[in-house]
């Protein structure tokens, strides 16, 4: 008896994409199409009408799944706003958008990159090397890596030389906006020490989103004051807010590991990147790890104190290369117990048991897909089952509420703006599991070129068919 042919090796747990998954994929691509400007993707047509630094990185990660070319352009245009000192500003302004469409706009920042682009002067978490590497994995392109590597290297050199403010390997942020999670309760304590002058400028965000979902006026006044002080100091040195943030530093470390991989492709030396990645992980453990709380915490670099509040930022170090297994296990336990990851809820940005928890206000409780994605990536190695569940929750959120900016972690209700760029992009990335993609390709192998069959009909007369193509 002939044994049945052995099926090709395929992961058995992965099914054909369901109609539901296809629906999410199509919806996500429609959002990215609508937010594409020809050179980059706006996070939101109304609320955020310019190019944002870490948004573009997350969007590139998702764009790699449907148009690697757009993903490469997304990153290259962002680095078109890079300064001579290497910093990648958190906003590159679109000159065609009116000054009053977003506050603080170009007139506030008064900064111009060497390329001529008007920009802000602060930075955001350095996800970019990671994004560049993911884009390369989706569609290998050494030329792209050759072009972006020196820019990424300069970005990291800026952080290393200008932002290591405590003598350790860790870098500091000088504005809550630089954390990417500006309204988080973690910043309440250090922010309270900043004088809050009366704000003269008019906020633009409240025209698009309910005030109950955005930072308060008092905090917005403080944000503006810190930014103005940093600007007036020539965008150098310290401000009234100097903090070592676990999310920012975890991404800084993960990005060094990604730079090492990129360096190997572009014939540069990966060793310094690997060494720095190790040193960053070590410094994170020494300076920000709280063994009793089982979470990483931010440190006020002005006072040297560990800040009292926790947030999802403290779980993101799961993506750190070389994180000891016992620390990773503690982080998973914290994610499950304090952030309720096992209960089928979305991953909140702030622990629901915390005193400052608000399920719908900007970074004070709602779930965001970028932090969820970072924790998911970190969980892949530590707890794949939990990673899978988190991925399913991400997809459920966008299926039920659309590609909203953030979500109530318990009810899944959407908040902030709609058609939000990274929510669409990261849902695409979660959908496009590499194993699943491999399976798609298997189904698309073209038929081999066969032989012509016998003639069965009338003969076409010579000259019957024009061969003139309209061009």
């Amino acid at each position: 008896m002939i044994p049945p042919a052995q099926a090709p090796a395929r992961p058995t747990t992965i099914a054909e994409p369901s109609a539901e998954e296809a629906g999410i994929r199509r919806g996500a691509i429609r959002v990215l199409l609508a937010n594409w400007t020809g050179a980059y993707t706006v996070p939101s047509r109304r609320l955020y009408p310019h190019q944002w630094s870490w948004d573009s990185a997350f969007i590139a990660i998702g764009a790699a799944r449907w148009s690697p070319r757009r993903a490469r352009t997304e990153l290259m245009t962002l680095f078109g706003g890079q300064w001579r000192d290497g910093r990648v500003p958190h906003i590159v302004f679109n000159p065609a958008v009116p000054e009053d469409a977003y506050f603080p706009g170009p007139a506030f920042w008064q900064a111009t990159a060497p390329s001529g682009a008007r920009t802000s002067g602060i930075v955001q978490p350095p996800v970019h090397a990671l994004a560049a590497w993911r884009v390369h994995l989706a569609d290998p392109d050494r030329a792209f890596l050759y072009r972006i590597y020196p820019r990424l290297e300069a970005q990291h050199r800026f952080l290393r030389t200008s932002r290591r403010m405590s003598g350790s390997e860790l870098v500091s942020i000088v504005h809550p906006w630089e954390s990417g999670m500006d309204n988080s309760p973690i910043w309440d304590a250090p922010l309270a020490k900043v004088a809050a002058p009366h704000m003269r400028e008019r906020r633009r965000d409240l025209a698009h989103v309910a005030a109950g979902e955005r930072p308060t006026d008092r905090d917005y006044a403080r944000y503006t004051a810190i930014a103005a002080a940093y600007r007036d100091a020539g965008y150098t040195g310290r401000t009234g807010f100097v903090v070592e943030d676990p999310l920012f530093n975890a991404l800084y470390g993960a990005a060094e590991a990604a730079l090492a991989r990129i360096a190997a492709v572009v014939d540069a030396d990966p060793a310094p990147h690997l060494r720095r990645a190790e040193e960053i992980t070590q410094a994170m453990l020494e300076r920000l790890w709280d063994p009793s709380g089982g979470i990483f915490r931010a440190r006020d670099a002005r006072t040297g104190e560990i800040l009292p509040e926790d947030s999802v930022a403290g779980l993101v170090p799961l993506i750190l290369p070389g994180l000891p297994a016992d620390v990773a296990d503690r982080l998973v336990a914290t994610a499950v117990t304090r952030f309720g990851l096992k209960d089928g809820t979305l991953l909140p940005s702030y622990p629901p048991g915390g005193a400052a928890f608000e399920p719908a206000r900007y970074w004070r409780g709602p779930s965001w897909l970028n932090t969820s994605w970072l924790v998911l990536e970190g969980l892949r190695a530590t707890d794949p089952g939990l990673a899978h569940r988190l991925g399913a929750q991400v997809l459920r959120a966008v299926r039920e509420a659309g590609f909203r900016e953030y979500f109530n972690p318990f009810t899944g209700e959407g908040h902030g703006c709609g058609d939000f760029g990274w929510s669409a992009a990261l849902a695409l990335d979660v959908l496009a599991d590499p194993a699943l993609r491999a399976q798609y390709r298997l189904d698309r192998v073209p038929a081999p070129l066969g032989q012509l069959d016998q003639q069965r009909g009338g003969v076409v007369e010579g000259g019957d068919l024009g061969d003139q193509v309209l061009a």
Binding site: R25, R26, G27, A28, I29, R30, L33, A34, W36, G38, W66, S67, P68, R69, R70, D139, R441, R444, P446, A447, P448, L449, G450, Q451, L452, D453, Q455, R456, G457, G458, V459, V460, D464, L465, G466, D467, Q468, V469, L470, A471
Partner: protein, 278 residues
């Protein structure tokens, strides 16, 4: 199968890839179809010549259909078009298309596509000033499309308007212009065709243009930035085809191009290339 049932049936499937008949070796449509399917295509796009020639092929086409040849669409292949400056030639173009619509309806196909005109005038080439003002261009096209649309509706097939680039036509260059005319007829049987080659010249963002034209888009022709087959130029095929999927397009991708290389190697490569992104 009528056009409407064909459209309904297609919603359950992915996009099909077809190939214009003159690109495929073979003495008969059956031979061409065998070659095309072996090369990875799903069907043939027919070419509709003038002088009632297409009508004269009815016997050949019927036999091909009986032999299982898939040939849902007809691309017009005539010396004059519905937007001609001469009323007489316009009338002839409309009559030819009426006849072609009747034939494709008989074969249970989707419909017939035509540009507004081709090679008649370009606003970018001397003498720059067309003999007819734009308002009259529009009136002429609207009359023709309405007449053809009513005929198509009665037969349950589609008349499809294809924008051409500025050097080949001066009246309808973008999908938005085609969609505007489709809407103006008020007929569901008048639809738009996108051709990736022309779009790469005319559309600011071809992908956004497809998304905006989605409800009126009935057919696609694929060819590269250089008018050769996909994969030989610089179009972002991943983005184009993901966009078509995202907007719920389930029609055909018909290869209309100048073939670089021999069909024996170029056609299988092209089908495999396109399927990579489907």
């Amino acid at each position: 199968m009528t056009a409407m049932t064909a459209m309904t049936a297609m919603t359950a499937k992915t996009m099909r890839i077809t190939c214009q008949e003159q690109l495929v070796p073979g003495r008969t449509l059956q031979e061409k179809f065998d070659f095309a399917t072996a090369a990875g295509f799903d069907g043939i796009e027919l070419r509709g010549k003038g002088g009632r020639h297409f009508e004269s092929r009815l016997c050949e086409l019927t036999r091909a259909k009986a032999d299982g040849v898939v040939m849902p669409t007809v691309c017009v292949d005539m010396p004059h078009f519905i937007g001609d400056f001469s009323a007489e030639l316009r009338r002839d173009a409309i009559d030819q298309l009426r006849s072609q619509l009747s034939v494709i309806a008989e074969l249970g196909g989707l419909g017939v596509m035509t540009p507004a005109s081709w090679g008649q005038f370009s606003l970018r080439l001397p003498p720059f000033e067309p003999p007819r003002p734009p308002a009259e261009d529009r009136a002429v096209l609207l009359d023709a499309l309405t007449e053809l649309g009513e005929h198509a509706a009665a037969l349950d097939v589609l008349i499809m308007l294809e924008p051409l680039n500025r050097y080949e036509n001066h009246m309808v260059n973008t999908l938005a212009q085609a969609v505007e005319l489709c809407r103006a007829t008020g007929l569901g049987s008048v639809r738009a065709v996108g051709d990736t080659y022309h779009m790469n010249i005319e559309e600011d963002d071809p992908c956004s243009a497809l998304a905006e034209a989605a409800p009126h888009l009935a057919h696609m022709q694929v060819s590269e930035s250089n008018r050769h087959q996909p994969g030989t130029g610089h179009l972002d095929w991943a983005a184009h085809l993901a966009t078509l999927d995202a907007i719920g397009y389930h029609g055909d991708l018909a290869l209309e191009c100048r073939l670089r290389g021999e069909p024996e190697t170029a056609l299988p490569q092209t089908a495999a290339f396109l399927r990579m992104f489907l």
